[in-house]
Each structure stands twice: as structure tokens, then as C-alpha cells.
Subunit: 151 residues, 2 copies
């Protein structure tokens, strides 16, 4: 499960992506439309700014804008920033690699082999999907949400 924070971040960024006009979007507006606690959102936007995803303008007519085109900000990038490593095991993370202390031999760790595949698939989706892609999807992809027999 991704964190609430990550959901908020992605939804906020989506709003910025939609409001392309070059005019900043303000926190109170995002908070209201997306039902996000205002002060909480402030912190999140700050994180996004420090990471270089958005830029801010202060004072009247201020607010936030994407720093890059929406097509060049991926879900993976955002998710990693907010929730940390994408990989399901520390020893599979690229940005925060850490050996599992209790695990002898990564090359014959079964867990690692299995979850390496999960990590690969997950990254393939998340880093190939940009904010722009996501916005373009819904209308097209509307087959009645195909469900397999598993979670």
C-alpha cells in the first residue's frame, strides 16, 4: 500500500499538470478540490519543491507550477521521493541499497530472486508512466476494470 502522503502528492501534481497555463495553482485550491488537509499539503509541496519537481511563487498570485513538462515526471519518481524505495527488499533497492544482515549470499537468496521480478515489473510500469500519460489514460482505458482471481 502506498502512503496517504503519496496519494496526496500524486493528486496535487496531477492538478498542476492539468492547469498547464503557466499560471500557478495555490495550496488552498488544491486542498479543497482534492480534500487534502491544507497544512499537510503544504509540507508535501515543500518536499516536491526541494526535490525539484515543482517551483513556487510567493505572495499574491503565487502558488505552484511543475518545473518540467508533465510528460517528464513519472509516477516512479514521485513515489520514490515520497514513500522511499520502490523495491520490496532493501537488497533490491537502487537508491537505498542495503544488505539484509540476516541473509547469507544474495545470489542464492530465494526471496531476492522472486522479489527481483516484482521490482522489475513494478518499475517498468511506474517509470514508464508520466503524469501526462496518467491524465490521458482514464477515458481510453475504460474496459470495466479487469480483475483476476487474486488480490
Amino acid at each position: 500500500m502506498i502512503s496517504q502522503r503519496a496519494k496526496y502528492a500524486l493528486r496535487a501534481l496531477s492538478m498542476l499538470a492539468r492547469s498547464n497555463a503557466g499560471t500557478p495553482v495555490q495550496i488552498p485550491d488544491i486542498a479543497e478540490e482534492q480534500k487534502i488537509p491544507k497544512k499537510f499539503l503544504e509540507q508535501i509541496m515543500l518536499d516536491l519543491k526541494r526535490a525539484g519537481l515543482v517551483e513556487s511563487r510567493r505572495g499574491k498570485q503565487g502558488g505552484y507550477l511543475l518545473q518540467r513538462p508533465a510528460s517528464e515526471i513519472t509516477y516512479g519518481e514521485v513515489l520514490r521521493l515520497i514513500d522511499g524505495p520502490i523495491a520490496p527488499l532493501p537488497c533490491l533497492s537502487i537508491t537505498a541499497y542495503k544488505r539484509c544482515e540476516d541473509c547469507r549470499g544474495e545470489s542464492d537468496c530465494e526471496l531476492r530472486h522472486v522479489f527481483a521480478r516484482v521490482a522489475d515489473e513494478t518499475r517498468a510500469v511506474l517509470f514508464s508512466t508520466s503524469l501526462a500519460d496518467a491524465i490521458a489514460m482514464p477515458s481510453n482505458t475504460c474496459e470495466p476494470v479487469e480483475r483476476r482471481s487474486n488480490d
Copy 2:
């Protein structure tokens, strides 16, 4: 990231799967070999038992055995049992579906569309990989851990 608990559970089950002989494996042995806190492991094994994954024998010569063949216990099943839903969003979980209160319209929620793909891919791997599969993998799959440019 999967929980420590889940790692322990999977490693313990792996030991049971390997020790096929029909002779029970005991908690102290698992705990020592896998470096798992013994009392913590006890709780985990109880969960696995209650869920019908393993059976137990008490008293001397007691211990735990798989209740089904190792080829019929999947990583997905174990992970869901221990860590909860596989899906990254409550509204994508099959076993614990929950509407996102702050989200209007699931069919046009961008987050949902993107993470639905993640969920599908993840489940495809986890539910198609059994304990037996995982044990069989390591020796074969030993190309020097292919890494993409992303986490």
C-alpha cells in the same frame, strides 16, 4: 517494502519446503539457522498454522510441516496473509476492497488506473511463484542480477 515478519515467514516456509521428508522441523532450528528471534517466530508460525499453510505436532519430536505440497503454496498467498493486501491502493484490493473516501469516481481516478497495472503485474509474479518454484530458481537464474536504471 515487505515487512520483516513476511521475510521471516517466507524463509521459515522455505525451510519446511526443503525438509520434505515428512519429519517436522522445530522452531529452535529454524530460528537459529535463519537468525529469527525465537519468540517472534513462534507467533508467525501460529499465524501460518491458523491460516492452514502448515500443521504442527506438539511434544517431543514435534515441530512444523507444510500442510500442502510446496508447489501449491504461493508467495502471494503468504505475503497477503502476513502483510495484508497486495494491491497498492485499497480500492484495488480484492481481499480488502475499500473505497477511497476522498476520491470521486473510481473509473476516472488516474491513480487507480496506473496502480491497477502495478497490482496486476505484481500478482502475476507472486501468485505464479510457489515455494517450490523459488527453491528451484537460484541455481538456474544466476545471471549477474540485471539492473535497470531505476530503483
